[in-house]
Every structure is written in C-alpha cells, then in structure tokens.
C-alpha cells in the first residue's frame, strides 16, 4: 500500500514536472523559432545568392526557361520545383512536366533605377559609335554616360531654365511676340532644346544588351542602370560588400517595384518622426499629471478611482484609440481647424484628413496611461524620509519635487517613457485609422515652408508589414523585404525594451543602496 502510494506520488510528481517543463520549452521554442524564422527569411534579402537557370519541359506545350535567384542550392531548388509541379499537374492527362536546374557562370544581375532586377547572360554593350563592345568597356561607357548626364543637367539648369523664366516674364507682361528680345530668346531656346534632344538621343544609344533565359535580348539603357553584379561569380569578399551595400540600401532607399525591392527609408523615417512627436507631447503631460496625482491630488476615494481608471485605460484596445482619433481629432478638431484657417481649400481637407499630427496625438493618448503609471510608480519608490528631510530643511513642495523626488524617480520615469515609445513603435491598429499609409508620395519633412508638414500622411514600418501580408498577394519567398522589415521592427522594439529593463535594474540597485 505504502509502496504503491509512493510510486503514484512519484508519477504525479514527474507528470507535473514534465508538463511544466514542456510548457516552458514550447513557449521558448515558439518565440525563439519565430525570431529565428524572421531572421533567416529577412537576411535572405541581403545575402547575395546564386542565380539558377530553371528549365521546365512540358509534355503538351513549349518548354519554359527562366532565371531564379535562390539562397538554396540547386538540388533543393529542383526538389521544391518538383513538389510544386506535382501539385499543379497531378491531374494533367498529358503527364507531368519535368524540370531541370543548371547554374551557369557569368549570369548578370542588373538592377535598374526603378528597382527592377533583370537576369541574363552578357551579349554586348553599345555606344553611340560602336555596336558591339565587350564587357570590359563598361566602366568607360559609364563614365561617358555620366559625363553626358552631367552636361545635360548643366544645360537644363543653366541655359534652358533662365531662358524659360525670361520667356515666362515676357509672357506675363504681355510683350508682343515679334519683339527682337522675344525672338532671340525663342531661338536660343530652340537651339538648346535641340542640343538636349541630341544628347538624349546619344544617351539612349548607350545600352547593355543581355540574353534572357528565353533567349530573347534584354536591352537596358546605361543611364537607367543602377547596379550590375555577377552573382554566380562573386568572391567571398565581394559577397560581404554586396551584403552591406544591400543593408544600406534597405535603410536608406524608398521601396520600389510595389514594395518588393528597394528599401524602407520612408517607413523608418515616418515611424521615428511619429514617435518623436508623440514623445514630445506625451512626456511633459504624462509626467506632470502623474506628479499631480501622486503629490498634489487629495488622498481620497475619487483620486483612487481616477488612478484605477487611468491604469485601466492602458488596457483599452488600441483600435478604440484609433476610433477616437479619427472621430475626434480628425473629423471634429481637424474639421474645425479647416473651417477656421484653411477655409479656402475646402472641400478638400487639410487637417480634416488623417495625418501625422493626429497619428502622433492618438499614439500619445494611447501611451499616456503607460507614462503616468510608470511615473507614479517611480515617485512611490522614493522613500518618504527623503521628502521629509527636504521639507525639514525649509524647502517648498516644488523644490522638494524638483530637487529631491524627481532626480531619484528619473530612471523610473525614463523607463516608462521608453516603454511608451516601444509600444508606439510596434502599434499598428490605430495608425491604420489615423494617418499611416502603405505608400506616401512625400516625406512629412522637406525644404518647403513650413518644413514639417504635420497634415501629411506618412509611412510606418508596422503598417508597411501589415499591408504586405494583407493586401499584396505575396508568398514567403518574395516577402523577404517584409521579413527584413519585421526584423528591423523587432530589433527597434527589443532594443528599447532592453534599455528600459537595464534602467529599471539600475533604479532598483540605487534604491537598495539608498535604503541601506
């Protein structure tokens, strides 16, 4: 009996232990797996990979040949293609197509200014004088093209523009078309215009001609050529260089080709700007409100209720803030501003439409409870004795707060602010409603007055990712730019959180020391 009991207990013990261990293992694996998966998928966007020539022979129609760039090796790619073919053609009466993957050397990967990536084997280079040049002359040709382009630019800026302006002025003054000045200007204009046309024609003769997978020639004008690689012939050092080049492109360029290539600079910029504006609004208000609640508000039931209310506001679904932002900030406030100040532009709205300002305010409201709660917690951790000591020395309440309480509570407040910023950076739902868009034609900051355009819509990393999954029909393979963006977003949010954790532990140390 006793023995049975014991073994029964042991079984229970081990079941409990194993279950709890399995749970924590599952959680950790899930999140490690998630981060690793995103990392692996995202890094593919930067790693230069080999280009394979895929040939698929169909039993009932012409064979299909195309280049495919893959980080995997030939065999894996072939297996993947076969799996796909089996699925697609399992019912085909004519039989299954066969696939073949070869890797050929000297494949060119040419990226155009528009972000298009073209593959092919080198055929020839053309210039204004020669029809068939070898690849070695590319650098020379590019130099010439650059020279021509700068000439063109020069002519346009220094010759055509002044003439154009002068003609415009004459037109404005309603000068007769037959006046000598007018005619000479016209002649000049025509002369320079002809020159430009000529240069443009010359420029268009400079081209790279490649042979595509389907043996058709691909012609790329050299002035449109952005980058040129031989992906299958890169040395290790070349690969590293390409890797870093792509990282910098990702961080500094706008998206191209319907957000499948290029970079995410506007999204990073928009996110950062929105978060900064939000922090500017929320930090003083939140901190001062918390000081009021903790130091000034009377200690009664009402204050307690307010405190509970404020901390509960932090758990209200973020989309509700978005609804409020759209209904109140955009339609009510923005609508009123438009009627008061921008009445001449109506009915097209200026501030009465979703934009950067309203997004920042909405996010500020969303993170306000976080800041207030964190600040209050920071304030409550300052020992009572410190305050009493300060009062005993004749300090006023304000001096006590500013010279004693706030310096001690500052790491706590900072922690709260960082957490608020992290939350704002990762939050997407309200932004969809109040101003973030998948593609904004211009940045909210530029060189025209008033430089910071608060009413403009902006891009946001989270919205960029959301849109990638929700609207664009993309699969995991072509989504590597999205994965790279996920990676960046996770990095930003985690970095902020780790900073907050470090601050918090510093804070604890400080109190433990001050209490000793």
């Amino acid at each position: 009996m006793q023995a049975m009991n014991t073994s029964w207990f042991n079984l229970k013990q081990s079941v409990t232990e194993v279950t709890s261990l399995l749970c924590i293992t599952l959680i950790i694996s899930a999140f490690l797996g998630l981060v690793t998966f995103i990392g692996l998928q995202g890094i593919r966007y930067f790693i230069p990979s080999n280009v394979h020539l895929v040939t698929i022979t169909y039993p009932d129609r012409d064979e299909q040949r195309y280049f495919q760039q893959e980080t995997t090796d030939k065999e894996t790619l072939l297996a993947d293609i076969n799996v796909r073919l089996v699925q697609q053609y399992s019912d085909n009466p004519a039989g299954k197509p066969t696939a073949q993957v070869t890797t050929i050397e000297n494949v060119i990967e040419a990226t155009t200014d528009r972000g298009e990536r073209l593959y092919g084997t080198f055929d020839r280079l053309t210039s204004d004088t020669e029809e068939k040049l070898p690849i070695e002359s590319l650098d020379n040709l590019l130099l010439t093209v650059n020279l021509l382009q700068s000439q063109l630019h020069d002519v346009q800026e220094n010759q055509l523009m002044p003439i154009h302006r002068a003609i415009a002025i004459l037109n404005e003054r309603k000068v007769d078309r037959d006046v000598e000045l007018y005619r000479s200007l016209k002649a000049d204009f025509a002369r320079w215009q002809a020159y430009v046309t000529e240069v443009n024609r010359r420029l268009s003769t400079f081209a790279l001609v490649m042979v595509g997978a389907d043996s058709q020639p691909i012609r790329i004008a050299l002035d449109e050529l952005d980058k040129l690689h031989f992906p299958n012939d890169l040395t290790f050092i070349d690969k590293i260089a390409v890797f870093f080049e792509r990282i910098s492109n990702f961080l500094l360029e706008p998206p191209k080709q319907a957000a499948t290539s290029g970079g995410v600079f506007p999204a990073i910029f928009g996110t950062v700007l929105m978060v900064i504006l939000m922090a500017v609004v929320v930090s003083p208000i939140g901190v001062i409100a918390a000081i009021y609640l903790y130091e000034y508000a009377p200690e009664n039931k009402t204050t307690m209720l307010i405190r509970i209310g404020v901390s509960n506001m932090a758990a209200v679904p973020s989309v509700v803030y978005g609804v409020f932002g759209l209904g109140f900030f955009v339609y009510t406030l923005g609508g009123s501003i438009d009627q008061l100040i921008y009445a001449e532009k109506l009915p097209s709205p200026t501030f009465g439409a979703p934009g950067l300002l309203w997004a920042s305010l909405t996010m500020g409201l969303l993170t306000l409870p976080v800041v207030i709660v964190a600040t209050e917690e920071g304030l409550s951790r300052v020992p009572k004795g410190q305050r009493q000591g300060s009062y005993a020395l004749g300090a006023t309440k304000l001096e006590t707060i500013f010279r004693v309480v706030l310096p001690m509570a500052s790491p706590g407040i900072l922690t709260g602010l960082i957490l608020a910023v992290a939350r704002a950076a990762g939050e997407v739902a309200p932004l969809i409603l109040v101003g973030a868009v998948k593609f904004a034609p211009s940045l909210p900051v530029d060189t025209t007055f008033p430089f910071l355009h608060l009413e403009r819509q902006f891009m946001h990393l989270g919205v960029f990712i959301y849109d990638g999954a929700f609207h664009s029909q993309i699969d995991a393979n072509s989504a590597s730019i999205m994965f790279a963006s996920c990676m960046l977003l996770i990095f930003i949010v985690f970095a902020l959180n780790i900073t907050a954790i470090v601050f918090r532990s510093k804070l604890r140390e400080r109190y433990e020391r001050s209490l000793l």
Binding site: V15, I28, L34, E295, P317, S318, L398, A429, I465, A479
Partner: protein, 726 residues
C-alpha cells in the same frame, strides 16, 4: 544627500525666505493641477465622444414641421428634388415644368421653368433613386421618357426611352392633352432596366405594359381586369397585381407565380428594396420577402408585427441613406419602420391630410392637390433598434432568421444589415480559443519558474519571457498569415500529427524523468535541461512534421478516402484555429507573467507548513499554492481575455474577416476590432454605419474596461488576504 545641502545653503544664505520661492511654488501647484485635470478631461472627452456617437442610435428619429406651401397650384405634381442643396418641388402648370424651391420664409418666387409641349399629356414616372423623371404621351400614342437632370443652378430634360403604345391599349384609350381630365389612371415606373406602365381606362379595363430599356423588343401587354393596385418587383421582373378579388404575383409573361388569399386586401406596399412588400391589416402588418428556393423565386412572410395603425396606409417612401421606411396613412399618421426588422420606431399624427409622401435628403415632403407640406427629419439613424442590432432577423432574401453584418451594398436594392452579433461572436470565439492555447502554456510555464525552478533560474527566465510580450503583434500576425496559414493548409496531416505527438513527448519525458532529474541535469536550475529540451523538442517536432508530410503523400498516393476527404473538406488557412494559435502565442507571455507573480506571492510560510504536514511537492502545489494563487490566476486569465478581445492586427491579418455567427472551429470570423480597422475609414461621418461602428467601439471599450476592473478587483482581494497574514 547633496540636494539637502543645496537647499540648506539656499535658505541659510538668504537669511529670510525670498518671496519668489513661494510664488513659484503656488504657481507650480496650479500648473500641476491643470495638467492633472487636462489628462482627466482628455480621457473624459474620449469616453464622451465614443458615447455621444453611439447614443443617436438609441434615440428615436424626430420630425419637425417646417412650413406648408399653397402658392403654387400645379396641374400635375411631379415630385421634389434637390436643386443647389435645397429641396425644390417640381410640377407642371400651363404647359410649363416649374421648379419651386421649398424655403421656409419669404424668398419663394425664384421659380424656374421649362416650356413643355402643350400637345402632349405629361405624367410623373416613379424611380427608386431620388432623380425625377417624367413621361409624355402624344395623340399618336408615342410615349417618351425624360430624366430630369439637375446641376448646380439649372435643370433640363433628357430623353432616355420612347415607344408607341401597343395595341390593344392604343385603340381603347384616348390620350394626349385633350384627355387629361378623363378617368384613365396612369402609373408609370422604371425599375431594374424595365419600364412598367399600369393603366386603368375609363371603362374599367386595366392594362399592364412592360418594356425592356435599351432593347428593340416590342413592349408586352397584359390585361388585368379591375386593377386596384400594381407594382413591379425587382430582380425577377415579376409584378404584384391586386384586384378586388385576388392578389397575384405574375412574371413578365403574365403567368401567375404566387396567389395570396383575399385576406391580403387592406393595402399593399412595396419595400424600398423592391424585393418584397408589406401587407397591412386591421391591427397588424406582414412583410413578404423574395426568396430563391433553389432557382424558384417566391415570396415568403418574413416578419409580422402587431400595431394599431390609425387609418389605412396610403403612401410609402424610404430614406435613401439608412433605408428607413416612412408610411403615411389617410388619417395623417406617420410611421417610421426599421428597414430590416420592420418594427415601428416612430408613430405620430402629423398635419398632412393623407397626401403622398416623399423623402428628400433630410426632408419629408407631403404633397397633395392643394398644398405641399415640408417636414425636417433629424436623427434618422435612430431607426436602429436593439432588435436589429442584437436579435436574429429574417432578412429579405433569406429563408430563415439569422445574424448578418453586411455594410456594403452589392446592388442598389440591397439593404445594409447591421447585426453586431456575428462580430461579437467572432471576438469571443477568437479570444476564448486563444485562451485555450495560452492558459495551459502560461500556467505550466509559470508553475515551472515560480514553483519548481530556483530563484536564480527565475531571475533570468522571467524577464526573458516578459520581453517577448513587447513583440509587436503585427509581426506575429505577419508570420502567421504569410507562413503558418498556408503551411497549415498544405501540410494538414503533418500539423495534426505534431499536435497529437505532444502528449507522447510528455509521456517520454515522464518515463525518462529519473534520468534528467538526476544531479547531472539539475531540474531546478535547468539551463542544461532547457537547452537540451528545446533542442530535443525542435528536432522531434521537425521529424514528426516531416513524417506527417511523408504520410500525407502516402495517403494521397494510395487514394485513402478518409485522407482525401479530410484534405478536401478541411481548410485551416482562414479558420479560427490558426487565429487561436497566433493570438494564443501572442498573449501567452503577459498571462504567464501575471500567473508567475501570483504564484510567487503565495506566502512562503504556507508552503513550509504544507511540507511540515507531510504534503509532497505536487500536493503542496495543487492544494496550497494554486489554491492560494487562484484569484491571481483568474485575474491573469481575465486580463489575457481582455487583451485577446482587444487585439486587432493578428485577427485582422490571419482570418478571412468573414462576419459569420458561427462557433465552428473551421469557420472564419471577423472580430469587433478588425471590423473597425477595415470599415471605419470607409464609412461617412454621421451615417448610420459610422454611428454603429462607434457603438461597437464603445462596446469594446466598456467590455475591456469592465474585464480589467474585475481582474484588478480580484487581484486586490488576493493581496489583501496575503498581507493580512502578518
């Protein structure tokens, strides 16, 4: 502290306290109070804004008398339309089409006119939309149809159809200018690319002429006996004919589709959607709606309401924006009906004397022989009722009652359906399923870190797991949508196999318990155990998964019926299961963190006492630790529920966003939150849709607010009992 030194020096040096310090102090206290109140006011504004945009739904509409106009005695009243943003009555007088602005006040005589041919007889044409149309018949029997086109200031007529009246109508009727006071009653209507003309001649015969627009086909004619009431119905090109003895629905070839017994004889009106009709009886009314019974169209009763209506309903129209139905009786009682449930939401006797009624923008125009009466409608969104938002409704076009959320109209005849039940079910389903995934995982892990593992282990494991709480949900949603959902569809059997294998892994763990809980792998500070466990688990899952892929291949190749059936009928990709996994994983860290705290706050004394009474580790866990921590655990689960309920991005990205009132696991769903994200920007401010969306936002707000408050209350009770111990 050196602050004290500074302060001390300050007060010493001055000898006397400088005044400015106190002024500053007072000013500062005002500033602090101001900002504190500012925040309060902001949050109050938030709540009030949400509520004030939801409340109009629950106030009934209001009708205000504006004015009545008797100055213009039209020979033929055509209707009222909007010219330059103002309602204007159109009518024919002395061969001129007059446009009379209906303005309360003095400047009424800006009447504008188009000269019409005096040789023709002019008649109004009914259309479903607000644009007006008129028809003319000349002595040769040529009938022409004009649309009235109104731009900013001017209006003109545009011909859009014409044909000769066919025999035998032409020979039996006299028309043209000279017959305009004769007894022939014309009713002309354009519906659904068809022109319908119902005509009762002076000698008691009735004809119905039907003509397809933009077609060379000759118009069809049918004889209808003594016609009392006629109207065409949409979609099917059927018409309803009511004579003294019968009420029938006929198709374009005059074949009777459905006959109603004579009880259907008080008065019959078509629904705004033209896909059904309302039949009024003495004390009740019944609504019939079109229903496609496997290719066979018929009209079935969808709603019956008891209502004491004063008088006989004489005229009907509907609000173009909300679909609200206005009915005016011959004793001047105005009824407003909800467009989906057909409940009466407003009933009032007005000064209209049984005239015909028209709804134009915000105005109700009652027109009669001698005068036009103008009323203004406010808060028309108040036609929404509790029933229409929360109860099952029998919608037109459906066989039985159901809950439907469908805000965009596919055709002009559709009525938007705002039943929020599918959304609420979607939200609850998603969050409950997420809890099913998250709570066991979180509780198991919390028991591990807070109870089994050493303090040192907890010190690094807990912040680690808590940090992933900050993982942006859009990232989890992205991976679930881009990778998990397609994979779940493709490798269904592999996924099922992996889930089934988890208990076996546990069994394996139990069997090898002795080995890994030995000294070498210290279970309590389990860096090594965890590392080994994670590696092992991932390897095993990978193997099982690949086995699943292989098995699926084998089953499909060997044509195993059950496997093929399973694969054909089960699509996980847009189902609630994938949402449950993604959402569950997203909320696990926060639930974990709270449960861990709850367990950790259990007084150490109680645990010691339990051991000293002979309880072993498991008994102490289940009978003391978990019992004491229960309020905290419940509070954590509730907070997790609140979080899942309010989560937007994952549900938005992973589900198909189909608003279905179904609890099935394999059905898709649309939550309150994702619905807001999808629809709010598209809805017009001030429309019914907008107000209902705000109402759902308020629901979300108050639900999560209550759940969180309740959770906080539970938690505070826990801390109370724990602190009371000393």
């Amino acid at each position: 502290m050196n602050y004290f030194k500074i302060i001390a020096r300050m007060s010493m040096a001055s000898g006397k306290y400088p005044r400015y310090r106190f002024i500053l102090n007072n000013v500062a206290s005002k500033v602090f109070t101001f900002f504190g109140l500012l925040v309060l006011v902001t949050f109050t504004v938030l709540i009030i804004h949400l509520l004030s945009n939801s409340f109009p739904l629950f106030h009934s509409p209001k009708i205000n008398y504006i004015d009545s106009y008797q100055d213009y005695q039209f020979d033929q009243y055509i209707g009222t339309t909007v010219v330059a943003g103002k309602p204007a009555a159109m009518g024919i007088k002395n061969c001129r089409l007059l446009n009379v602005p209906l303005l309360a006040g003095d400047d009424r005589d800006t009447a504008d006119a188009i000269r019409l041919s005096c040789d023709k007889q002019w008649l109004p044409v009914k259309q479903l939309d607000t644009a007006l149309a008129i028809a003319s018949i000349d002595t040769n029997g040529l009938i022409e149809f004009y649309r009235l086109q109104v731009s900013e200031q001017t209006f003109r007529l545009q011909l859009f159809a014409s044909f000769f009246l066919p025999e035998p109508v032409k020979s039996r009727t006299s028309f043209g200018q000279h017959s305009q006071h004769d007894a022939a009653v014309w009713s002309i209507e354009v519906l659904d690319q068809h022109i319908y003309i119902a005509l009762s001649t002076e000698n008691g015969e009735s004809f119905i002429i039907q003509k397809t627009l933009h077609s060379v086909e000759a118009p069809s004619v049918k004889q209808a006996g003594q016609l009392k009431h006629f109207f065409p119905l949409a979609v099917t090109h059927y018409s309803l004919l009511q004579t003294q003895s019968t009420t029938r629905i006929v198709d374009s070839a005059n074949t009777t589709i459905q006959t109603f017994n004579p009880s259907l004889n008080k008065s019959v009106f078509r629904l705004p959607s033209a896909r059904g009709f309302i039949v009024f009886d003495e004390t009740s009314y019944t609504v019939y709606g079109l229903f496609n019974d496997a290719g066979e169209f018929k009209y079935i009763a969808i709603a019956t309401h008891q209502e004491d209506i004063n008088g006989i309903p004489a005229s009907i129209d509907f609000d173009r924006q909300t679909g609200a139905i206005f009915i005016l009786t011959d004793t001047s009682e105005l009824l407003i009906l909800n467009p989906n449930t057909f409940e009466v939401v407003y009933k009032e006797t007005i000064d209209a004397r049984g005239q015909s009624l028209q709804s134009v923008g915000d105005f109700l125009i009652m027109s009669g022989q001698d005068r036009i009466v103008q009323y203004q409608i406010s808060n028309i969104v108040g036609v929404a009722t509790w029933q229409s938002l929360f109860s099952p409704v029998h919608y037109v076009g459906y066989e039985e009652k159901g809950f439907i959320w469908q805000t965009s109209k596919v055709t002009a005849y559709d009525q938007a359906k705002y039943n929020v039940v599918p959304l609420i079910i979607g939200s609850i389903k998603a969050s409950l399923l997420a809890l099913v995934v998250a709570v066991p995982l979180a509780a198991g892990s919390a028991v591990f870190t807070a109870y089994f593992a050493s303090e040192k282990t907890r010190a690094w494991l807990k912040p680690g797991i808590e940090m992933v709480e900050a993982m942006p949900s859009v990232v989890i949603g992205f991976v679930a949508a881009i990778w998990l959902a397609p994979m779940a569809d493709k490798h269904l059997i592999a996924i099922l196999l992996s889930v089934i294998s988890l208990p076996f892994f546990m069994l394996a763990g139990v069997l090898t318990h002795g080995f890994w809980s030995s000294r070498q792998f210290n279970f309590r500070s389990p860096r090594r155990v965890l590392f080994a466990g994670i590696t092992l688990l991932l390897i095993l899952l990978f193997l099982v998964f690949n086995l699943g892929i292989y098995l699926q291949q084998v089953f499909v190749n060997s044509n195993a019926t059950w496997a093929i059936d399973l694969l054909a009928t089960t699509s996980l990709s847009k189902s609630a299961i994938v949402v449950a996994i993604a959402l569950g994983i997203a909320i696990t860290p926060s639930i974990y963190s709270l449960i861990d705290d709850a367990i950790n706050e259990v007084p150490k004394g109680a645990i010691l006492a339990s051991f000293s009474l002979g309880a072993n580790e498991v008994q102490t866990l289940f009978r003391v630790v978990l019992v004491v921590a229960l309020p905290g655990i419940l509070s954590a689960v509730m907070l997790g529920f609140g979080r899942a309920f309010g989560e937007t991005m994952i549900v938005l990205m992973v589900t198909g966003n189909t608003p279905m009132p179904s609890w099935e696991l394999l059905d898709g769903l649309r939550s309150l939150t994702s619905n807001l994200a999808i629809e709010l920007q598209e809805s017009n401010a001030g429309s019914m849709h907008f107000h209902i969306l705000f109402f759902t936002a308020s629901l979300l707000f108050f639900f999560t607010f209550c759940v969180n408050s309740l959770a906080a209350l539970l938690k505070s009770r826990l801390t109370y009992s724990a602190s009371n111990e000393h």
